[in-house]
Symmetry: C2
Subunit: 167 residues, 2 copies
DNA sequence: TTGGAATGTCAACAAGGCTGACATAAACTG
DNA sequence: CAGTTTATGTCAGCCTTGTTGACATTCCAA
């Protein structure tokens, strides 16, 4: 680990406990902003953040299996199932039995589901876009570098896989 | 809004919908990592993330009032009170009646509370430090710039006030 | 054919949000 | 001083979203 002495070779001031604490608080307050807009939209319906997450990743990877979604979201199947059931009942998500492996269910958004996804991600992207534009490209690159380094290694892989599938 | 055309003057590729979506997913996965270590410690006790947040900000601003904490945390007094009550009962937090305004309660961590705060923030800082070190000072600056731009303006002020009080 | 994997479902429970209502004491205001 | 506002606490009840455990079904694979 780096010694705490500032000015030892390169500038290590950004690693002081105070800087780290500010980073922690920045994450806390920023995440609140990050979720605020979709939360507001969802609170008018019978849905919550868990529904948003499911919709987001089904849209991102149409035809994904329940198990795959489970790994991405990091919750139990019982918890996800409750959310999926309501989304299927309400006609936002369709579940198709797998062709090669009929145990698997492949998940897709219906037109209504896509419409809601659009509404939610528009709101979230608008805030992200404003933040990115204000901060500029170099800051955005740094933002993503730090976030990636903050993930568990398993989630890094998931994130990278998703990133490459969409690029 | 910026037009989607890449190469129009400066490079605006970082504002494409795909880039924004990656930013959204990076926030999601990174926040999971960000909370994972304290969550693990707390799950062994009878405490959760809400207790961690209260402890963090009481430590950050000793003597803060309940109302001030309410504003920082963005929850209802009933919700905060439930958490504070257990922390006070368990001897981690002390509540002193205000001197000038006796309606107010000023909150402090006891020694035990400070010990737990230390344990939790050590874990969280360790991850943050590793991420910061891997990413380097420029990336860290960008990270904080973007996060700050992502906050609600009200929270930006709160964040800045805290930042300046600690620097 | 048997074992294990993928999925679904039921039940129960807990944390931590929320609202609404009400109590108390202190401070402020006319 | 009387009345209002403010800060706080508390009770009751509800919702979402997470958990565990148990069990059924279906189907692939050895």
């Amino acid at each position: 680990m780096a010694d705490g002495r500032p000015g030892s070779g390169e500038n290590l001031l950004y690693l002081t406990d105070e800087q780290l604490r500010q980073g922690i608080e920045a994450m806390f307050f920023a995440y609140r902003g990050f979720t605020a807009d979709p939360d507001r939209i969802l609170s008018d319906m019978a849905y919550g953040r868990a529904h948003h997450r499911a919709i987001h990743f089904i849209n991102r990877a149409p035809g994904t299996t329940v198990n795959n979604l489970l790994n991405i979201l990091g919750v139990t199947k019982q918890s996800l199932n409750r959310v999926l059931r309501t989304l299927i009942e309400d006609g936002l998500v369709q579940s198709h039995v797998g062709k090669t492996d009929k145990r698997e269910r492949h998940l897709f958004l219906t037109e209504d589901g896509q419409a809601l996804e659009q509404q939610l991600s528009d709101a979230q992207r608008a805030r992200m876009r404003a933040a990115f534009r204000d901060a500029g490209p170099d800051a955005v690159a740094g933002f993503r570098t730090v976030l990636e380094a903050m993930m568990d290694t398993e989630m890094q892989r998931t994130y990278t896989r998703l990133k490459e599938s969409g690029a």
